[in-house]
Symmetry: D2
Subunit: 350 residues, 4 copies
């Protein structure tokens, strides 16, 4: 039906049925960004948003999105999902681990933004995530949702990648796959804005403690390390995370030993991302947070001399590193254009 | 024609002819934001963008927008405008003063983001803008483009309001018009992010000089003062601008003597903006930069005790204070829905 | 050789015995800054520092100061004070209200950084501080410790002023006392860095919520309002506080109706602060956070046209607005040079 | 009475004559910090400060320091130096290259903050600094002034180290010298605040371009690379610099292959800096900008697993990375306590 009076002017569609989706955990930062993207998505109808913190409040006002929904409590997630086709889990790994199997059992497609289904080897969950993982069947059937590297989802359970892995893998995977860099001795020195830590009421994340500062954290112990190693198919690598005094954005500076000259590395990346909706190869010093924050883009650049290749990648940790990539996975899962609802997200930098 | 292959999926439209527009000065901060909004606007086709600085460069890459245009030099503005219906001037007042009459003479609609046509009284230009204004006919026929207060454009020359005036007027005008506050003794204490000063290669606007600092500037001499007074129809007021260490956003804290109790002030604002696409009345301590930056929204709130009313308003100086409002004026000028292309701009805060 | 004329009072003194002092609440931001200043003070020996949070930890390492002390628990404050002459209370008003009378009873001098003894009228404490004030004798005998306006301490209980009052009073008091501005209708629009809120583990003070934002808070209800009114001897005034996305610094923009031309206002301020160790009159647009943060300075400037005078003042809320002023009071209480230990604090801006 | 054991070296000295010093280039950020430190230094009398930009202005007001000097033009540097014993050059390498030999010829001690005399091999200057270096005798006789690693100055020409080298060398040199890490394959991923780029009136360093952003710069081409390699006595290493959106501070994250277990690395660093006035070994995640900015401290920490050692170091680029280290060199050159005038610089973080 025509919607000539649509105040946003998203205009007339022939399709009569939009896909109904729900979001569990919509008051976290990823959940909020996801809510905004989905509310503006032309082929999606948002059916419910859960949040204990804002339960009962109008979603649109809290989140800055156009919707007349009100938040429901997290405990109502499974019940609320009865009326939707796809559920996004913007929850902790523990909560996702509980919810995803139940939602799949009732026929829902699940896009999980946590780490609960990203590692294929259940035995390494205790060390990196602090819990035993018994849903091994779901681990095995989950699809690791980094479309540029692993294609469109082939499962109704999508394990949406972590923010650091997204940036790192887009920088390194094409070169590794092509054999242009050594697979041992990889070093990833990554820097992230504070939203990467989620919504926090801790002194350590207070403005006064974080502003004008920089530090490394979870040294040699960050849970994204095995996720990166698995996706790169390398036995190990060195990954360091730093807390930047900015709200959004990741820059990963990756060091590898090259097996080919710089021109070949550049050509490899250019070929890998030719025609990509979101990944763009730029000069290495043009890989910035400012160029990508707010958008679903990833900028990648490479420099090298004889002994070392430096591959840089930048993303918005909440968009390409979380909510945007989740919607990209949704689009592909539904057979829609990959960039639908994502292509016009403006960058935050002027 | 259907556009099934549209990578953004902005879907099928019945209309066959989009309005062609051009932007003069598209490498300034307002011009860049304007370019992004127009590239994503469903009823607009961007015909040209000028910039001396980036002349020849691809617009999309520089600005972060979907377009295959390249920048042309500013000197080509008039020639380039031959193929468009509407020209946006994101230029200095002096350049707009020169270009607008020439563009109107060739039948173009002009939306001017500078101050060149905002003041009705030509005689006060020398003091506040530093030049003589001889295009008095154009001054007389220009429409001051603040739609919530002055309605849709009634002229093919729209003087898009200044950023500080936009916030201040949306806070004060309804109360003044209703006689609920005194018209004398108004004080506006406003704070703006650094993009308000435009793109600058000056030491005074360097990161090191601005970060962690705050100061007042152009004290009792800011050129937005007479614009606010004119639009409020008051003989004078006190306006103070401060430079905030943030990129985007204005908060105006306005002080007035009330003639009615707080409940009446609140009711007046609520009535004035009922159904407004962009202005929302919220609790006064909920008027924040975070709630509006990135969007075309203005948040307004009021507090009062016996002797004083405090009316706060916040906007993104580059969107509702410049580019977004210009597009809002375009929509109204063309008879399109007021929020077309503007409603889904996400806020930058997570 | 003695250098009695050394305005900073460094170097050789005849006194052989340093004054022993203690700090209750040394892990708050004011307490930390106070600890650093006192550890470097040539005539002070720090006897104890209390903190529940860091009890047992080495003070020097936690705070960044040269001392071999370890923190003791707050509950040990009174006992620990046995060995010192002066106790600084960097505590909440409630705790100060309890401790100060007990410390005075045992013969200690007390410099209280809280609001517990600033308001002379006990009856207004419930509204502004939320508790009944029964120590009215102490209220009556406390000295309001703003030396530039109220002289050196005349009591062994010093009520160290609030941060907003310090900036506001230094801006307005000389003009009011001289009758050069009206005493009614005063408006103070103040902006403060986040340390003004103290050490906080709340989401509202998290980096993500505060960065890039600005908002007013405690509108028409800030507890510093009656303190300012009392010190200015005006029945009321309008005071607005805003939360700036910086760690340290206050800028107060004060509006008053002038009774004299600008030159007289300027001359009055210049005379008031001639020879002042810390207050400097500068051009109004040179009143900045950058110029004072890190130091015990207050910069003051004034602008005016016929109807309005704008007086600006900036301070570091933790130094001149708290710890530095407390040490200034200590110096005066002990008959030492006013700037001893304070004159060489470097500003944080490069 | 003398307090020879006072580690900060305040208080009474028998010396009656202070050392007179001058600063060439006192309006740059390093020069300003240097001016403040020297004005508060108990054994120094500042004889002149040069600056073309502020020539004629009072130094104290511009810089925030206690001195009655006025700036003189740079061209007067040699003449002005007639009355002083030591000259600090806070100038570009080209200017230092010209001035230092002339000042030495007239018997002055010179502490040069530029790179003009840091590299022993004159032949590599053209590539890294863009000029031919003909003062090879001065190169040979200059002392590289990193006291913790190279001892007190043994020459009247001190080449004060670069900011990145200072942090990097303090992290890596003890481990390399002890043979506990491999000398090949070293990677230094460093991040610096914007003052590291000096005072800039360029758009690229404007607040709007730098805030909320992060990027690498001078990739594989930073002039500090050969300085680090020379001081570490390694043929090459990989050094990457990033521009942080903060004013001050460097964090260097260094990667090396260990030849010994973590405990040995830690013990080596602890031994190297035992009793050090400025370098402190802390837990690796406690190496922060906040802990050192404002002070002359360097914090160092190490983490390791089998294959990689990560050594982190943080400094204030303007203090330990420039002005503070220059004063440390001055103290040692004059036989004064190493920390005189430096020990009580407070950190900027609350």
């Amino acid at each position: 039906m025509g919607r000539a009076d649509d105040i946003a002017g998203r205009a007339q569609y022939v399709r009569r049925v939009k896909t109904r989706v729900g979001i569990v955990g919509a008051s976290g930062y990823s959940g909020m960004v996801l809510t905004r993207i989905l509310c503006a998505h032309p082929e999606v109808e948002l059916g419910f948003c859960t949040s204990d913190k804002w339960s009962g409040d109008p979603v649109g006002e809290r989140v800055g999105a156009r919707t007349s929904l009100s938040f429901v409590a997290n405990a109502q997630a499974v019940e609320a999902s009865g009326a939707v086709d796809v559920v996004f889990l913007a929850t902790s790994a523990e909560v996702s681990l509980d919810l995803a199997p139940r939602l799949r059992a009732s026929g829902k497609k699940v896009i999980d933004l946590s780490g609960a289904f990203r590692l294929r080897d259940a035995s390494i969950y205790p060390r990196w995530y602090g819990f035993e993982h018994h849903a091994t069947g779901h681990l095995a059937s989950a699809h690791y949702g980094l479309p540029e590297l692993f294609g469109p989802p082939t499962s109704d359970l999508v394990a949406n990648p972590g923010c650091y892995p997204t940036a790192t893998l887009l920088a390194l995977a094409p070169l590794l796959r092509a054999g242009l860099i050594e697979s041992s001795g990889l070093i990833v020195d990554a820097k992230s804005g504070v939203t990467g830590a989620g919504r926090q009421a801790k002194e350590a994340y207070s403005f006064v403690e974080v502003a004008d500062d920089l530090r490394a954290y979870k040294l040699l112990a960050h849970q994204h390390t095995p996720e990166i190693a698995q996706a790169l198919a390398v036995p190990s690598l060195t990954f360091t995370a730093h807390l930047l005094p900015v709200r959004r954005g990741i820059l990963a500076t990756c060091y590898a030993r090259p097996r080919a000259p710089l021109a070949d590395l550049r050509a490899c990346l250019a070929a890998a991302y030719e025609g990509s909706a979101f990944v763009r190869v730029v000069a290495p010093e043009a890989v910035t947070l400012a160029g990508v924050v707010g958008t679903n883009a990833c900028h990648v650049g490479v420099a090298a001399d004889g002994d070392v290749a430096i591959v840089l990648a930048s993303i918005d940790n909440l968009v390409k590193g979380a909510a945007g990539q989740a919607v990209q996975n949704l689009n592909l899962l539904l057979g829609l254009p990959e960039a639908l609802g994502l292509a016009d997200l403006p960058r935050s930098a002027p």
